[in-house]
Symmetry: none
Subunit: 407 residues, 2 copies
């Protein structure tokens, strides 16, 4: 925890106000010589425009200056967890588990796996095992899940992801995630043996993992292509303090994609079943309106269209949010924030480090007189440019959920 | 190291992009009632104006709010070293050594010296020994350098600076720089004895330094004015991790003045021989263009004119940079930053704590539509106001030299 989170947590007080954090993933872009308009500027957004006129605008720095976050750190920051500090880092194995909706238990060790082809000499000949079909991935994963006995009382679960990718979970007493990857990152050599990051550490886990690898080789010995594997990103549930513990909130997550549901569940959110369009997601919020005081609502398409470098698709994704927005506003949230977990400028076809436009509407948000929710208007906004991990506290304040600090 | 530097260092990745950091020392000023225009605003800068129109602008806080840095911390921050943390502080002895182009060895202890006049009772009668000429300073320094034997195998080097100022270096095993100044800061009392900052510490160094002082008194006993000395700012090479280690960069420093070459060399920069005008410095960059991927280019006159309180001279210094700028732009740096290590408002005739205007030009810098590179335009810029120690990471990001953080 940081000094800021401690402070916010100390000051948090319950009331009946409701906060909605609408995350338009990857919202925000940049101006370039050949692309003078961002997607937010190009989109026709009458509802967002009208909302902006009654709101305060500002910008968030997703992690720190110049740092381009993935979805994990991007969202953790929005939830108030400083993504720079080591204990807030979510391992790749855990992220993969979240992405397949696997409910990780405390102490369980997760790893990403890649199926590989191993030749007669024991060397890797294909690090992706010829990219098997998803069906083949599921068949092999089920085979391993069923046949592998493990050792020392550790329960082993194997789940398919897609193509050559799978997850493996080790559950039982005395395991630690501090293992090196077994993937040598090249062909013509054997997979690395399981080993601890610090010599002599995680001894039991090293034994359990190596036995799993050996047993998997045995189970797959007659498979023509998928006869070996590499493991990466050993990690376990970060055990973050929850929204309930930190902020006395009762939060819900409305997200169509597993990874985002997973990051929400890591911080104590109740994950709601939902459809994938903004209208369907807002309907999910409406249905659960009486049961929660914080709603994290996640829109994926603003990011995926940006990653595709597709201005039209990003504009359409924004306009779809705009069209459905009256449903959300109709619920009369006490505080509504619209923000992204990072920018995904379509001119870059990827996540970026640029500040993200932020809109905050609340009873005492200040009203800037902005005409639109865009990067250019956000730069002029009264909220200013804040580190994203300050947003949650800022929304609590706007909802009257933070007491005065000191007398 | 800070969490931020660790993060940047972890994410740094090599590519063939080239970054130029053009430091106009002391650039940036303030508006005052009788001086409504800053030097940047008063200067005629067609090339900078055209560049600003295609760039992103912002501001740096040199060290922290309200803190006026010297050249050492000002530049360390620009190089990504948080100047607030103790292990990043460069001692005055070391700075003086850098300023006379002395190449400090690891473990060597440097001190600044002031020649003094000591009366028959052993009390200081003049803390500056009547301000001797530079020639006299050189003569006395050479005398000490030649005559003093030292003790315990420690090699002693004495070098003139100017007037009453000189440097002394202690080189050998087992020395520590944690000594108090011997300067009592007043006359009518004897110089202080050498002593450790912590009682009982640095015992060998205390002995060696006191013996040097005693031997110097002996060597100078017949000099009429320069017959004693005080030592200050004991310090050694900070041993900072280099640009190579931290960022996988191969940096060069182009600076006409020793202090700036020295600060560059402290962080691993190759120091290039150069002339003193902007045109000569840019020609040096051009000559070494193929050999490096990071160029620190330092302009001194923007600062010295500001310290003189001379608006015309500061305007001329800025216009000289503007006139030579096409040579630098002709090299087509992938990322170009223009910034100062601090502001030197001519109305203050000295360094100040004010934010410094920043210009960043790169493939994905964002384009703000600014018309000029001035304090007023910089305040409106999309980069926002960042701590100066974030700039290096920000430039790495713009050059595609930082990987994504987390998945």
């Amino acid at each position: 925890m940081t000094l800021y989170t401690d402070l916010i947590s100390d000051l948090a007080q319950k009331n009946d106000k409701k906060i909605v954090m609408l995350v338009m993933d990857g919202v925000g872009g940049i101006h370039a010589e050949e692309s003078p308009e961002t997607a937010l500027e190009a989109a026709v957004t009458p509802n967002l425009d009208a909302l902006a006129a009654k709101s305060a605008l500002g910008r968030t720095i997703p992690t720190d200056w110049g740092i381009t976050p993935g979805s994990g750190p991007g969202h953790l920051a929005l939830f108030g967890y400083d993504p720079r500090i080591p204990e807030h880092r979510i391992g790749r194995g855990v992220l993969e588990a979240l992405g397949i909706d696997y409910e990780l238990r405390p102490g369980e060790v997760a790893a990403r796996g890649n199926f590989a082809t191993i030749d007669a000499d024991g060397n890797i000949s294909d690090r992706r095992a010829g990219r098997p079909s998803n069906e083949e991935c599921a068949r092999i994963s089920a085979l391993l899940d069923e046949k592998i006995a493990g050792r020392e009382g550790i329960e082993i679960t194997v789940r398919p992801v897609r193509e050559h990718r799978f997850c493996v979970f080790f559950h039982g007493d005395g395991l630690q995630p501090d293992l090196e990857d077994t993937d040598p990152q090249k062909t013509g050599v054997p997979p690395l043996k399981a080993s601890a990051r610090i010599e002599g550490g995680a001894a039991k886990t090293v034994r359990v993992v190596q036995t799993f690898i050996d047993q998997a080789r045995e189970v797959l010995r007659d498979e023509p292509q998928v006869n070996g594997l590499n493991l990466r990103g050993f990690s376990s549930h970060p055990g973050l303090p929850t929204f309930q513990e930190l902020y006395d909130l009762n939060p819900a997550a409305v997200a169509a994609y597993p990874l985002y549901r997973g990051v929400g569940s890591l911080v104590g959110m109740k994950v709601l079943e939902t459809g994938t369009t903004p209208a369907e997601e807002f309907a999910t919020v409406a249905k659960a309106w009486d049961d929660h005081d914080f709603f994290f609502t996640h829109i994926k398409k603003t990011d995926s269209s940006g990653e595709d470098g597709n201005l039209e698709a990003k504009v359409a994704a924004i306009e779809a949010v705009d069209a459905a927005l009256p449903d959300l506003l109709g619920l009369k949230p006490d505080v509504l924030a619209i923000v992204g977990d990072h920018a995904t400028p379509y001119v870059m076809s990827g996540h970026s480090w640029h500040p993200v436009p932020l809109l905050v509407k609340g009873p005492n948000c200040d009203i800037d007189g902005a005409t639109r929710y865009t990067e250019t208007e956000a730069l002029k906004g009264s909220v200013g440019t804040m580190s994203a991990d300050r947003l949650l506290g800022y929304l609590l304040a706007n909802a009257g959920k933070l007491g005065k600090y000191g007398a």
